[in-house]
């Protein structure tokens, strides 16, 4: 693979110190994502974790449908495209067929919490030994900003022009809380990508999630509150502020399930 780490001109010379390096599993090319979009950060965090844990060479990505449909262009790992919403079912098939592989899905809110809610909840409930990375930005991005299952009450989207109304349009679905209540889940945490502090915590959560899979403890889940400046009609900084001020109060950050210790003691097999 051609990457920046192998380019001699980019390596530190005499008297220079390397303080920030490229991530081999993250492809070194411009993405199709909009300016200020948080998919880039999420991709980098997942790639760093795969590299640090040495998992990339046996990893298989299940890509979803939405803005992240082409996520496989940016992860240097084996990948398969899934029908809309079925990523956790596809991942189930892969992990069952190749138990030695590391399987993860990367899904948006429409994919996981609307059309794919059944597949996500049941894979989690069966304790499938896979990791689901869930990007919650409260809108359908790729199709142009329609209402998502996670859209906040009162939020205007292209299909809720008057703002989302509870009765008739529903309230924001809390996936981490749902996952937290399912017996097959080993680990579920909600993080945010609006600040350096939260980004660091998100990486820690992803590391924990993939570690669970390595140990065969069951389904692991990380929700990332992410910004969509384009469809929110905000500049990137204001989009970050919206996460802090409007999303986090509705979607509290934290760990919703962590049964790592009990599982290890009971020696549950994957």
């Amino acid at each position: 693979m051609q990457d920046a780490t192998s380019d001699e001109r980019l390596r530190p010379g005499a008297g220079e110190e390397l303080v920030f390096d490229a991530t081999p599993t993250l492809a070194h090319k411009p993405t199709h994502y909009c300016p200020g979009c948080h998919h880039g950060i999420a991709h980098r965090l997942v790639s760093e974790v795969l590299d640090e844990l040495g998992l990339a060479e046996r990893a298989i990505l299940v890509a979803s449908v939405g803005c992240s449909a082409f996520s496989y262009d940016y992860f240097n790992v084996d990948a398969v495209e899934s029908p809309h919403g079925r990523a956790c079912a596809v991942a189930t098939g892969i992990r069952r067929a190749r138990p030695e592989s590391i399987v993860f899905t990367y899904q948006g809110d429409g994919d996981m919490a609307a059309i794919g809610l059944a597949e996500s909840v049941h894979a989690a409930n069966r304790g499938e030994n896979i990791t689901a990375v869930f990007i919650n930005n409260t809108v359908y991005g790729m199709t142009g900003g329609q209402m998502a299952p996670t859209t906040l009450l009162g939020q205007k989207t292209t299909t809720t022009p008057l703002g989302r109304h509870l009765l008739g349009e529903g309230g924001p679905i809390h996936m981490s809380e749902i996952m937290g209540g399912l017996a097959g889940v080993a680990y579920a945490e909600r993080c945010a990508l609006d600040s350096v502090k939260h980004i660091r915590q998100a990486k820690k959560a992803l590391r924990t999630a993939f570690s669970c899979q390595m140990q065969g403890l069951g389904f692991s889940f990380v929700e990332l509150l992410a910004g969509c400046p384009t469809n929110w009609h905000l500049d990137p900084l204001k989009a970050n502020r919206r996460i802090s001020e409007e999303m986090i109060p509705v979607f509290p950050l934290g760990v919703f399930r962590d049964v790592r210790e009990e599982r290890k003691q009971s020696e549950v097999q994957a």
Binding site: R58, D78, R96, R98
Partner: protein
């Protein structure tokens, strides 16, 4: 039985056939009349180091099949008519992404929830693609429990030969009939190594398994760049054309026949009894039975039919008859193709087919 045969249902024969053919994963959702397949697989696969998952829906089951197939592992699902309709989503993706998998459809009556009786109402759903876009499934139609066993070997081999979904199309009669079955794998049955060799150029496994310097692989059906999808569809079209080399059919008593009955699956075996009865009465009738429904045995049918009269018998409101008429180019050749439908859900015997055959034979 002391001749080496075991007395089992068609559904159980499917399960034994799949296991003996090297199937490693089964994904399915309960639906009548095929429940003995998942029930048998839930026991047989774990006993033999395989995986069984009862999915939350047919949507999920077929997506799991896509996942397992993408890894180059022989896997299958089974369902019936309305459940198969839900699976069409993943079947289209699998065809587009060139991912193998075996799907058993034990048809029930339709449309909608229909009934649980015998039916051949999914002929179109099976042979015309069924899902969105231009895709085709290879379709095999067993008519006995023994064929349910034997065809599973062909199904898995074809799925891996073409990296495409293969459908085994039976119905409530084939599924539920209990017959003596010889559990004898064919001499050319693929081994795990055989499947691995066929999937080596494309399967997902993590690039580390492919040695130093290997790049990542991607299986997908989306092609947005100008001309890319056209190129993909031309490639798939050529593959569907290449499937013709594996076309299969059966001819019985056709040599001197004035009228040939064309039927598949359970109707074909009942029609055989009717033809036998009529032969005993001195009527010159024969049977042509397509074994593969896609590819359809067009050339063989043209050769057998010549200028003789044909009677298509099928348990639906008229589906395979369209392919028979297309195969014979009826307007150009002035062949006579009449049709006798049996409504889905009805249980028929040979006597029910004798009169329609006689009527067609005596028509001018």
């Amino acid at each position: 039985m002391n001749d080496g045969r075991i007395l089992i249902k068609g559904n159980e024969a499917v399960a034994y056939g799949a296991l003996d053919a090297g199937c490693r994963c089964y994904f399915g959702y309960p639906i009548t009349p095929q429940n003995e397949i998942p029930e048998a697989m839930s026991r047989l696969l774990p006993e033999n180091g395989g995986q069984f998952v009862q999915a939350e829906s047919e949507l999920a089951a077929s997506a799991m099949l896509l996942g397992a197939g993408s890894c180059g592992i022989p896997a299958m699902t089974s369902s019936s008519s309305c459940g198969i309709a839900l699976m069409q989503e993943s079947l289209s993706y699998m065809a587009g992404s060139q991912i193998p998998g075996v799907i058993v459809n034990m048809m029930r009556g339709g449309p909608g929830l229909g009934d649980i009786g015998p039916s051949q109402g999914d002929y179109f759903q099976a042979v015309k693609g069924g899902g969105n876009g231009d895709h085709r499934n290879f379709v095999l139609a067993p008519s006995t429990a023994q064929e349910c066993y034997d065809f599973m070997f062909r199904a898995f081999r074809l799925a891996f030969t073409f990296a495409n979904p293969v459908m085994v199309l039976g119905d409530a009669i084939v599924a539920q009939i209990k017959e003596g079955v010889r559990r004898q794998p064919p001499a050319d049955a693929l081994t795990a190594d055989g499947y691995a060799a066929l999937s080596a150029p494309w399967r997902l496994e993590g690039y580390g398994k492919r040695g130093p310097g290997a790049g990542p692989r991607l299986l997908k059906s989306v092609y947005l760049a100008e001309g890319a999808l056209a190129e993909r569809n031309v490639l798939l079209m050529r593959k569907y054309e290449a499937m013709r080399a594996h076309v299969a059919w059966e001819e019985w008593q056709c040599e001197d026949a004035e009228l040939i009955v064309v039927a598949f699956g359970s109707v074909a075996r009942i029609a055989r009894s009717a033809v036998r009865q009529l032969r005993e009465q001195g009527c010159r009738v024969g049977l042509f039975r397509p074994v593969t429904l896609f590819p359809f045995p067009e050339a063989a049918l043209r050769r057998v039919a010549r200028d003789r009269r044909l009677l298509v018998m099928e348990q639906n409101t008229g589906q395979m008859v369209e392919d028979v008429r297309l195969a014979l180019d009826v307007l150009a050749r002035r062949s006579t193709v009449s049709w006798h439908g049996i409504m889905p859900g009805m249980f028929i015997g040979a006597d029910d087919l004798v009169d329609p055959i006689l009527t067609a034979l005596r028509e001018d």
